[in-house]
Symmetry: C2
Subunit: 584 residues, 2 copies
């Protein structure tokens, strides 16, 4: 036994107890005649005291040598602290040390082990094992554990069975790129790492498991955007004999439970919004509804004058920025520059100041009179004191641009409050989306999503109009989960593959086992998958997933701590029947 107590649990009621503690030296203060040491472990900090009246000379000398992050074990008596520290739970006591053992020394860490560290991202990742000693990272990992335990307990109580599906599966060209794993025992052949256990969970439904879940790693070999990881964790769920309504209710229950358990906040029924409505009102299929600034479409009240920019636009649309009339000309120019950045891509921005006296002053006064602008204010729900920002152009593009501006402004205005939780179901997603690169339709969700009843016929005539039994759960402007009711008969699945450009042969080679399975009594089924990394981050009031992953990879997919990936030796390659074929 290295310790009788941890460093976070001793209180005034423990005074006079003989205790043994072990931990790290957080810091020490040496007054010569007296030395205080903060001893830290996962559970807290306890102050140790050495003083020349009560401590032997030898031990004083030993204590003087303690450096930051040394690992020590001490025996001593819990005594009342002269000057209490109300900021920590152990602040009423300290340990008068009678025995000190250095269990390990430590080199000076490359950054400070403090809540606010002086270490940059790169350095922290390289020494992640030291970074994890810091409260913010440690607490995030503990928080993640608690969330996953809650998820597992909730789903288990609701008759869900966690089933482990395989990691070494088969590569399929649909969707993102697979990571592949060469098989030594099957020469020239490869496994793939799963992008999700999608087909397996469907097979479990065919197999009668009824309610399945799994918290599971998934893999995508994508060019990494900020805050994406090549390996990520999903809460993967599937139910049999369900309609969309059953899924929404079940996982609304889970989400409500989590928010209640974690934040003590009761949330009423989650609002629902169709994809079309979300695009129209927020320009975005994952709107943050913690705040307003809804889109006002202005085509009807802005295309009747000689302003060609608007007249030639597919969509003219604006938002009202609360209190925005107080912005200086310079502030507004900054906003215009912001929307013109290549990442946003607008060509310009028209604005209207809503003066306190009810008059309007716009950047297009040459074309529009007060009556026109009043109608704009009405459409965007602008009040006196607001600023209306108007963009125009191609519908999809301008919606994305104005949505970006809306989020940016909300951020600036402090409207995205991390302690507020506004979930939203977005439903009725399109089944297919047009891909400019390949000049064909792709499954918006995945090829197993079922079309809305009665819309299958549209696949031949207006494929882009077909809606799917697909839904996303959005929380504070982030998609935290998405799913669908699946196709469960071979004919429809086969038709879908046709429409997605699979030949019969390809469909059979890649998904033959699933279509076979559908012939042996597949029940209606559907499911959802949550991105655990993001869910945990958002529940933790943050948006960067990397801080909630113990050992994340950087934007090149590298683990800079262990220095992976790395070359392997020729023998290993040869055993795998492979040769390098380097481009350079």
């Amino acid at each position: 036994m290295y310790r009788s107590h941890n460093c976070g649990e001793l209180r005034a009621s423990d005074i006079a107890k003989k205790v043994t503690l072990a931990g790290w030296v957080q810091k020490s203060r040496d007054k010569g005649f007296m030395i205080w040491v903060d001893l830290r472990d996962r559970y807290g900090i306890t102050q140790l005291i050495f003083d020349e009246e009560r401590t032997s000379k030898g031990m004083m000398q030993q204590a003087q040598k303690l450096g930051r992050e040394f690992v020590v074990q001490v025996e001593g008596e819990v005594i009342k602290r002269a000057s209490k520290n109300p900021n920590i739970p152990t602040g009423d006591i300290e340990i008068l040390v009678s025995k000190l053992e250095i269990l390990n020394t430590a080199k000076l860490p490359p950054f400070t082990i403090e809540d606010e560290t002086d270490g940059g991202e790169e350095l922290r990742m390289q020494y992640r094992y030291l970074d994890i000693r810091r409260n913010p990272v440690k607490d995030n990992l503990i928080f993640r554990h608690k969330v996953t335990q809650e998820v597992r307990n909730y789903l288990s109580k609701n008759d869900f069975i966690e089933v482990e599906t395989p990691y070494l599966i088969k590569s399929t060209p649909e969707g993102a790129r697979d990571f592949v794993v060469p098989s030594r025992m099957n020469e020239g052949q490869f496994y793939a790492l799963p992008q999700s256990p999608q087909t397996f969970k469907q097979l479990l439904m065919v197999g009668g498991m009824d309610k399945y879940f799994q918290i599971v790693k998934c893999f995508r070999d994508e060019d990494l955007r900020a805050d994406r990881q090549p390996e990520f964790t999903q809460i993967d769920c599937e139910m049999a004999f369900v309609e969309q309504e059953d899924i929404l209710n079940t996982f609304e229950g889970l989400t409500r439970h989590l928010i209640k358990e974690i934040h003590g906040v009761e949330i009423a029924d989650f609002p629902r919004m169709t994809f079309d409505e979300a695009m129209k009102r927020y320009g975005n299929d994952k709107p943050d509804i913690r705040f307003g600034m809804e889109f006002g479409e202005l085509n009807g009240v802005a295309q009747h004058k000689d302003f060609n920019v608007f007249n030639s636009a597919e969509l003219v649309v604006g938002i009202a920025v609360p209190g925005g009339n107080s912005y200086s000309r310079k502030d507004i120019d900054k906003l215009i520059d912001w929307v013109k950045r290549p990442q946003v891509g607008a060509l310009g921005m028209v604005y209207v100041r809503c003066n306190d006296d009810g008059t309007y002053k716009s950047s297009v006064d040459k074309f529009y009179d007060q009556d026109d602008l009043a109608k704009w204010a009405e459409a965007t729900n602008a009040k006196a004191g607001d600023l209306i920002c108007v963009l125009s152009g191609n519908t999809n593009k301008v919606r994305a641009q104005l949505s970006a501006l809306r989020m940016e402004l909300a951020e600036q205005l402090g409207l995205r409050k991390s302690n507020e939780f506004a979930p939203l179901w977005v439903i009725d997603f399109p089944l297919l989306e047009w891909d400019e690169d390949t000049q064909r339709y792709h499954a918006m969700h995945h090829p197993f999503t079922s079309p809305k009843p009665g819309q299958i016929e549209l696949l031949d005539t207006n494929p882009g109009d077909v809606k799917a039994n697909a839904y996303d759960l959005v929380l504070n402007g982030n998609e935290i989960g998405g799913g669908s009711i699946r196709i469960h008969d071979k004919e429809t699945q086969s038709l879908m593959f046709d429409h997605l450009g699979f030949t019969k042969k390809e469909a059979k080679a890649q998904f033959g086992f699933l279509m076979n399975a559908f012939e042996f009594g597949a029940p209606p089924h559907g499911g959802i998958a949550f991105g655990l990394d993001r869910l945990v981050a958002i529940l933790g009031g943050q948006e960067t997933i990397r801080d909630f992953i113990a050992f994340p990879k950087n934007n090149s997919g590298r683990d800079v701590m262990i220095d992976a990936p790395a070359p392997i030796d020729d023998d290993q390659l040869k055993e795998l029947s492979l040769k390098l074929n380097l481009k350079s």
Copy 2:
């Protein structure tokens, strides 16, 4: 809502309720005027009834067409069953169907969906989704879920934090072969899939997480022996500031909790045995102690006569088979043939019949008299009516052979009772073991295991004698867990790598990050890992792990259901900067 109730929950108290059920047609009996259908789902079976008095003609015709494994939804009234079925919980009632909808048809399954199926292993694996509908497989998967939930809840309650470690790590040549994953973004470089999260969990201890666990998939590219899987699941655990005693107590607690929760059996303190003792008494480092038949070493009482086979042997050792004197000459010949099979490899077997009258009759009466044989009986603890089986030869080999015979006999005698649980700690394992192939010492556990205090000096002179702070948890003759107290200082770790034949450069390239970490204040730490697949199988009273894995691979590492691994296309290879280099 496809159903108001599941197929396992209706009881006599529900009579007269209108209900909706959905499930699979298990079987139907058609008497012409009356049709009974067993409707099945995960939760049970409910009988449906159609009869010509109460059911419309159209529905009777529809019901007649229901084939096995059709998926149907029915509405109807719960009525009292004329002839009750006491074998199923719903046996008091049946459903008088008023509405029948066929949700999906089914082709005739390739094997019967019954507890005892007519399908062979290969066929069942190919149609695993149908196999999972069978109670034995379904129940095993549900059992596995319950065990993992219990493990998670127990460890969480004991302050362990589940931390996810990465799957895309770095290849290391030590131990079994890694599966590797080519990196597209880092040309010519590879990730490896973890054989275990060993180094990461140690880094988490350096990072102050204090108590870690993870239920995690691990990967080994080994030539598969029976009942091995290329991907398998571990309950991986690590604790800081612990000695061996702390680990044993903690995980004895976990195991005791599981056996109690699952089987209602209270188990006292687990016995402990050193590796040396286990080898001496059972010829095996994972002895099944549910029964006796302990080894009796006979060198002292069998090497004093003219029997050269024994005189030239390093070890002469026997076991007493309870009641074995009743074996016929033919039975004994069979045993002799059994030990001479190449899988066992003995050259022959000497036996001694212990007659009821206290006399002995042996196959070596030419050399040994009754006094000699009485001493053998004493050494093997044989009683009148037993049979003593004696093997001789090289110590390691003969122990393995006699251990195999002991297990075989126990199996034949019904001594390996699946409802009995006999855990055992085997401790004080050797640190190193000699490998004939490479002519050098390998780490018996892994290179991070610490030697017993004070034995480090022996590394230079008698490396094979050094004992490790390593332990295995054995349950009913199976190793279910193993672990060690780790090295936590750079010097010792570096010394270990030297002794294992790593050059300084290799050690740095592969484990530099760990040795660096040890310089920044590594606490003493240790841990254990359980093989979940085997643990669950043994707790379930079985020994074949495949039956507790949803989608297992066969002995060639193939998933015959999805037909993986499989070739990938040239573009994919090119993107990965690889070329095939086929041997044939």
